[in-house]
Symmetry: C2
Subunit: 315 residues, 2 copies
């Protein structure tokens, strides 16, 4: 008998069923595909590491979905339509088949939800924590991708959804705060990429919030050497987040995966219409001002909030 | 002052100078590019992990070059032309700036050699070993990619270059064997992707050898349910590898990154001409036979070699 080594058996059993046509059944050296005609391709890669981006106790299917959604959120930030993804897994040698089965089930669920397919990747062992990477491919009409640069003094600063739930969810999973409904942990485990919004011609600039509202606002401001002012009371918080009463965590914690956009006043009604069409809540939380770069957070009386405007950095 | 967090400073200092146009200076959420007209895109992702694929003592510039070349070899296997790449790095928090500088210098050297650019990626911390992923993009004329399936009984089995040097190089770096000239360690550190060969219409099937000659021969045979026979004395070995006298290591060890192709007898002269045009040595080491799947290794007297036909598996 000439059996497949275990590595290839894992790929054939758990990952080949997820493969799109381009993947050549995951048995070749690379995937091949014809790019969609008359479109620009958008591509991004994000890594998540056990203990840094997810907890050893997180269910593998939710880890898989977080990996995909973190990457899908990058496409959402540019206004792109998802197409396919590649996956690299570095996992310990004693990882059980049940882990791969649950992980693949999470991928399958989100492939169906977002209409994407696995087209390639790599599986290796590691003596360290589980380390996962996805590369996501999408497409946009030429010239219509939303960029981080382009905000103008006078633009409003808008965010989708609610802010801070995921950072609070991590605190809840660590036992530091209560989370009776599980809403906060749910937002930490399963981000909600804001795909589908057509903001070209409406927003001047945009990005997804992954490193904290304040730090990511600074990215938009820095690109144009602007200042930005955020009215803390306008920042949309979920019922659970309001209950937690940790504003600083909400404004600086990572993992929101909401969109942050700079919109001129004359496009506000178009913005609201487009968000309503997609069923995505949107809130104006502040505005851009002439530079130099500075991010001010104001309380209900217009006084500066004391906390430092720093988000999450890995180093 | 509103300074960049360290993570973004590392990207701006070390990686932004490597960025191609599509990368948007590595400051956006994703890269955008117009795919080359009338070409198929080829895409692959490979991960390398410290202690598994490279040694903690390996110079960072060589680790960078190995990462790129392992991925470029996947393009070579399909006959594709390299275009660009994305990079994810998970490194410990205390990684010094000098490591990033040396790593980026290795990338820069190979970008120049292979005419590719960095277009995106991610940098994160890890409490474990350094874990690196590259996603490589290339292109081919439609329908001309070399695939793993397609070998036919009667095809010759051919390899480029020499086999086993890298596996012996790892032994040498671990002090298990001598390596007076450094040739073996050099092959382990810096693979040589066999780009540029136009084998469409000449070879029936092909792949790059990453998991060991015998195991990868089995991949080509399995795709068509064929047997294959390898004459051990025909397998091309370098002077250093012949001196080491470890045939089994050469035939089963990983990291060769040479091409392995199935070529019908009537295309042998075309194969030799194409390899000569590219300055790439090529050697016939065996042939495909009717199935069932089996890989036989014969000694100089046509007798079966005793060792097991297994290569490297991560699990």
């Amino acid at each position: 008998m000439f059996t497949l080594p275990e590595e290839f058996a894992i790929i054939a059993t758990h990952f080949a069923p997820l493969a799109g046509d381009a993947a050549l059944n995951l048995s070749d050296d690379a995937a091949i595909f014809t790019p969609p005609a008359n479109r620009e391709l958008v591509i991004s890669a994000d890594a998540i590491v056990e203990t840094v981006h997810f907890l050893p106790t997180d269910p593998p299917d939710l880890v898989a979905r977080k990996l995909l959604r973190v990457n899908l959120s990058d496409l959402a930030a540019m206004g792109a339509t998802p197409l396919s993804y590649l996956l690299t897994l570095s996992v310990p040698r004693d990882t059980p088949q049940s882990w791969f089965a649950a992980f693949a089930a999470g991928l399958a669920a989100d492939q169906a939800e977002f209409n994407i397919h696995l087209i390639g990747g790599d599986t290796t062992s590691t003596p360290g924590p589980i380390s996962l990477t996805a590369t996501i491919l999408g497409h946009v009409a030429p010239g219509t991708a939303l960029r981080r640069s382009g905000a103008v003094a006078g633009d409003g600063l808008w965010v989708t959804g609610t802010i801070g739930d995921a950072a609070l969810g991590l605190l809840a999973l660590r036992g530091a705060i209560a989370d009776e409904t599980g809403h906060l942990a749910g937002r930490y485990h399963v981000p909600r990429p804001r795909l589908g919004l057509a903001l070209h011609g409406i927003a001047h600039a945009g990005m997804d919030i992954s490193d904290g509202l304040l730090q990511d606002t600074a990215h938009l401001a820095r690109a144009q050497n602007l200042a930005a002012e955020i009215e803390a009371e306008r920042v949309p918080l979920s019922v659970a987040a309001r209950g937690a009463d940790r504003l600083q965590t909400c404004l600086t914690g990572g993992d929101d995966y909401e969109l942050l956009v700079a919109v001129p006043p004359q496009q506000e009604s178009a913005l609201k219409r487009e968000c309503e069409r997609c069923g995505i809540p949107i809130t104006r939380i502040g505005r851009f001002l002439p530079g130099p770069l500075e991010i001010r957070v104001l309380d209900g009386q217009g006084r500066p909030h004391p906390f430092a405007a720093r988000g999450w950095s890995h180093f």
